[in-house]
Amino acid sequence: MTSLFRFVVVMIAFFVTQPLFAAENVVNVYTWSEEIPHFVIAQFEKETGIKVNYSTFDSNEIMYAKLRANKNAGYDLVEPSSYFVERMQHQHMLLTLDKTKLLNAKNLDPAFLNRAYDPRNEYSIPFIWGITGIFLNKNYYNEQDAEQWKNLLDKKYANQLMFLDDSREVFSMALRMLGYSINDSNPEHIHQAYLKLKTLMPNVKLFNSEAIISILIDEDATVGMAWNGDLYKAHQENNKLQFVYPKDGFEIWVDNFVMLKTAPHPENAYKFLDFLMRPEIAKAVSMNIHYSTANLAARNLLPPEIKNNPALYPTQATLSHGEFQTDVGDQAHVLFEKYWEQLKMGG
């Protein structure tokens, strides 16, 4: 009996202990999936002797739930999207960054600094960004058919459209159709957006966030909503694909690095973050994942066919129609989720 008791104690201890690597020379990094290529991590480990424990997530919500469920998860650097930087800051989860340890921050693109979600970049460093816009396949539609989100309400798209499986993205689009900001948290406006989406539902063929590229390439869906980086990737296999910046406005998202207050290895985290902001490293990351870099020095190093590609680097005039995502608060989140359930259940 005593040995059984001891066994139970050991089992419980095993499940509740902190990560054992807390004292070692490591840095624990938690980013969007496939964001940092292995050769970049290997180079950092070789230069500094610091081991990188790299884990990934595929939605902000999962990352946030994990960090909240276990306050001592042991992560140092995390990469939330802009509106989650704000949300995490409201929860006092973020460390104020010591800029003297981030000398490569001078390489960053000023267009992505001091935005509303972190007005003085005290907590976050922008890394990768993109646009949520309209895609269409020129074998089936003309660009004039879908210049604005509003055009997607047309009956000719019955059971044709693909949308991201993400309530916030889809509501942002509906709010733009109505002329409201994507960051509008007025319950009345969100209700109007819901009614708008209800009229759009007969046109929806599918919601998807995981297999977008293969769906675009194989023409499983030929028009709808997509991220520009995915479209760029798919375009290399199917040149009929076209990305459209909706004239009635669109969302600009930015993935940022933040440090947690509970970070066990802040010094190593600074070293890794500064390393990622080196122009040649940021360029390698951007070329590997095919998304736009928020590092101006890195962007200048990119091959001309990428840095001049309007799908990845739109002009300032185009960008002026875009809005940066900010946190809309828990009340709006609950509304989005409630209406999202109703929308999918046809209620």
Binding site: V334, E341, K344, G346, G347
Partner: protein, 284 residues
């Protein structure tokens, strides 16, 4: 020797009990506790204890989600039974040296993850997929059929994934069927249909019931098949619970849904248990 046997027995039983307590009872107890908690902006779970989460479930949208899941799972079970019964019957009664090979073929799909097999169904069903390509090539159709991202593709995926769970219990059950009873029925003048209805069907009822339960329960909660093959256009129970935990960050409500669902399943299992005679209970 005797004492040695006993300690081995206690050890293996103890391990199973420990396993069930740590990985089944304890998590369920935690979920039950969480379902009575409140939540606010800064806490996932907090006091005071409340019944509010359960009252919130009395909501048209949740009832609709439950009804929809129930409907899909029942349809899937009926289709699996209609396909699986003749199939299991044929294999079980077959006098062929290939019989064990055929049984092996039912098992082989389990060697691959169900998620990967669902992705391969996409390749079959998509507009440029295998089925459409063949139909186009043979000239049966002149435009790809919109098979993927529809209710049909969800049902195909569910039946494909769950059919073995219907066939295997039926196979075991039908194999045990005593041939002499069938012969006796025929000798006494029963035709094929009467023999099936009065002899075979009642004797294989335990197999039908356990097969149906094994298909129905996962069909209620497998959320990735409707997501992947149906284009996430509707929310089923699995998605609902997942969303409450991850997106809406409402752990108490998500827990309450899980608890109610578990209780409903437990009641169904109890009804099943009581519907069987003592003898069949022993056979399980």
């Amino acid at each position: 020797m005797k004492a040695h046997d006993n300690s081995l027995k206690y050890f293996s039983l103890g391990t199973i009990w420990l396993w069930l307590i740590v990985f089944a009872l304890l998590p369920f107890a935690l979920v039950t506790l969480a379902s009575f908690a409140s939540h606010d902006d800064t806490h996932l779970l907090t006091t005071p204890a409340t019944l509010l989460n359960y009252f919130q479930l009395n909501n048209a949208i949740y009832l609709k989600i439950f009804k929809q899941s129930f409907y899909i799972a029942s349809t899937c079970t009926v289709i699996c039974l209609l396909l699986g019964y003749p199939f299991a019957y044929t294999i079980a009664r077959m006098q062929s040296r290939y019989k064990s090979l055929l049984m092996l073929l039912i098992i082989i799909p389990f060697w691959t993850s169900s998620l990967i097999r669902t992705y391969s169904m996409i390749t079959m069903l998509k507009p440029k997929g295998i089925i459409n390509s063949i139909l186009l090539w043979t000239g049966i159709i002149d435009k790809p059929l919109p098979l993927l991202f529809s209710d049909t593709s969800v049902m195909i995926g569910l039946v494909y994934n769950l059919l073995p769970f219907m066939v295997l219990p039926l196979l075991t059950n039908i194999e045990r069927l005593d041939n002499r009873l069938i012969d006796a029925a025929r000798d006494l003048g029963a035709n094929r249909f009467t023999t099936f209805r009065r002899i075979i069907l009642p004797l294989t009822m335990p197999g039908i019931l356990s097969g149906s339960i094994l298909v129905f329960l996962p069909a209620m909660t497998i959320f990735y098949i409707p997501d992947l093959l149906g284009g996430s256009k509707s929310i089923l129970l699995g998605n609902l619970i997942q969303n409450q935990f991850l997106i809406a960050q409402n752990w108490p409500l998500g827990s309450a849904i899980s608890v109610v669902f578990t209780l409903i399943l437990a009641v169904m299992l109890l009804v099943y248990w009581h519907s069987m005679g003592n003898k069949e209970r022993d056979l399980l």
